[in-house]
């Protein structure tokens, strides 16, 4: 993976993001109530919760798009609402749940390179980076197309590419897998994992897609309901004790259910990966 350019100070901070007792409301009722958590360097945090639990709001607050009524958010030790917008651009990659909020260029290539160009990066380096990300997300043959004709899943992958292309320190992704089929979900997780492992990118994924849990067994998890954090821990733990998921209108991935039924020890990573591969194939063929 191509390393991060010198437009981001590479002496990465830790923790990358701190949410300090945040309260937020749009109207009368608070939709986030006393939320506190940290995102460390090399963390992958999955924020799970039913519709309306406040996941999107939390991400927007982390990105400085919304300002909390009480509490503060710090990115690399700086208050996010007081940061220069250039710094925010360098530090944060944001994927909104509506991909059509991004797209305005005539070519997919220009759409993906938008942030890098704004940061004044040299065109050769841009080309390398765009190609790398496009290859990983399997959208190379879309690069010359117009983004306005894309399907929802394709548009989402373009938006993901344009949010990660500048290798930010913190990636905030809201429902990034909505509209993606199983194979594309796996490719998506692949690139997330590599950004995380190779570059130490901290990643926060807000979703109610339980497929992600089966693929991202090693991640941290935060379960939200009605604006409160009701559980925090590791994906692996919550899968062995899925009560919390079920109590919060979520469920466990089919893979895990099957593994439990068959008596396979899914916590043994190798067994589990084989199982996932098999079930993935079945799911993939069902989708086709």
């Amino acid at each position: 993976m191509i390393s991060r350019g010198d437009y981001v100070d590479s002496d990465v901070c830790d923790p990358v993001a701190v949410v300090d007792s945040v309260w937020f409301r749009y109207e009368e009722d608070y939709v986030l109530k006393n939320i506190a958590f940290e995102v460390l360097r090399k963390d992958i945090v999955v924020v799970m919760g039913p519709n309306g639990s406040g996941k999107s709001t939390l991400l927007k607050i982390l990105a400085g798009i919304l300002k909390p009524q009480r509490g503060e958010v710090y990115i690399c030790g700086k208050n996010v609402n007081e940061m220069q917008s250039t710094d925010l651009t360098k530090y944060i990659g944001f994927v909104h749940q509506n991909p059509w909020f991004y797209i305005f260029n005539l070519k997919v290539y220009d759409e993906i390179s938008f942030t890098l160009r704004n940061l004044g990066v040299n065109e050769n380096i841009i080309a390398e980076n765009v190609l790398e990300i496009a290859t990983e997300l399997d959208i190379v043959d879309l690069l010359d197309k117009s983004p306005f004709t894309l399907s929802e899943g394709e548009a989402r992958r373009v938006v993901i590419a344009s949010a990660v292309v500048h290798k930010p320190l913190l990636l905030l992704m809201d429902e990034p897998t909505a509209g993606l089929d199983y194979n594309n979900k796996k490719k998506f997780i692949g690139i997330i994992r590599r950004l995380n492992k190779v570059l130490g990118t901290a990643i926060v994924i807000a979703t109610h897609d339980i497929d992600i849990l089966a693929i991202l067994g090693e991640a941290k998890i935060v379960v939200m309901n009605r604006g409160e954090i009701v559980y925090r821990g590791y994906v692996g733990d919550i899968l062995s004790n899925p009560k919390i998921l079920i109590e919060n209108s979520l469920s466990i991935p089919v893979e895990i259910e099957i593994a439990k039924m068959l008596g396979i020890n899914w916590r043994n990573l190798e067994n589990f990966n084989n199982l996932i591969a098999e079930v993935g194939k079945i799911k993939g063929s069902l989708c086709r």
Partner: protein, 257 residues
Amino acid sequence: MSLTNIYLKIFSQIFVYHSEEGFLAKLHPSSKTVLLFVCTVLAILCTRVEVLLLTLATLIILASTSINLKRISSIFISLAMFIAPMVFFMIIYIAISCRSLYRLAETTLSITIAMSRLAVISIAFYIFFATTKPQSIARALNKLGIPYKYGYGFVISLRLLSILSNDLIEIMSIQKLRGLNIGNNFLNKIKNYLAVFIPLAISTLNRVDEITVSLEVKGFGLKDKRSYLYVEPFRFTDTIFSSLCIALAIATLYFCI
């Protein structure tokens, strides 16, 4: 938040129905239409400042039965923010250009009248839209003889306006996060506008498309007449309220003009 965002935020809330309780919310839409009509006529015809201010006070008291005071004051503040610069420049202009104190007082009075008119009309409209269900507005328009297709079109477009301004805020924030606004030359500026308005246009078209399809599959507009399952009763209170409104308005106009 920038000033643009604040304006947009306020604008997005003006046409949104949000109050389900209290006296005004329970009133029949026709009574509220009468109130709206009477207030508008009064504001246009009446030239006496004390009458206008009294009407405004009455409206605020009425509003406070169903809308909480914080919202009412936020509407007032936004109205003030909107007209304050205009008033400010006018006063300065008058102070510089006309020397006589009498003229100054006279013009100040006429500005006050104009502003109270604006306030009365805005608050009357705000009250109407904040306390009346969109469906009821459409139904009331239908009763007045306007085909229900157009009534619904009107109501949906009002709702869409507020969604649109919320979308605009989000899109601006997203593109700013992607590094928009860093370049400063002319070409960049045009590109900046495109980066906001193209996504806005596309997501609005998408929404309109969704609305159209979901209306069409439900057979909307198939027949020129339609029936209603839910009909609000025109209560005794409504009769009294409407008559009172009309009587008061006629009396005021009689003494006013």
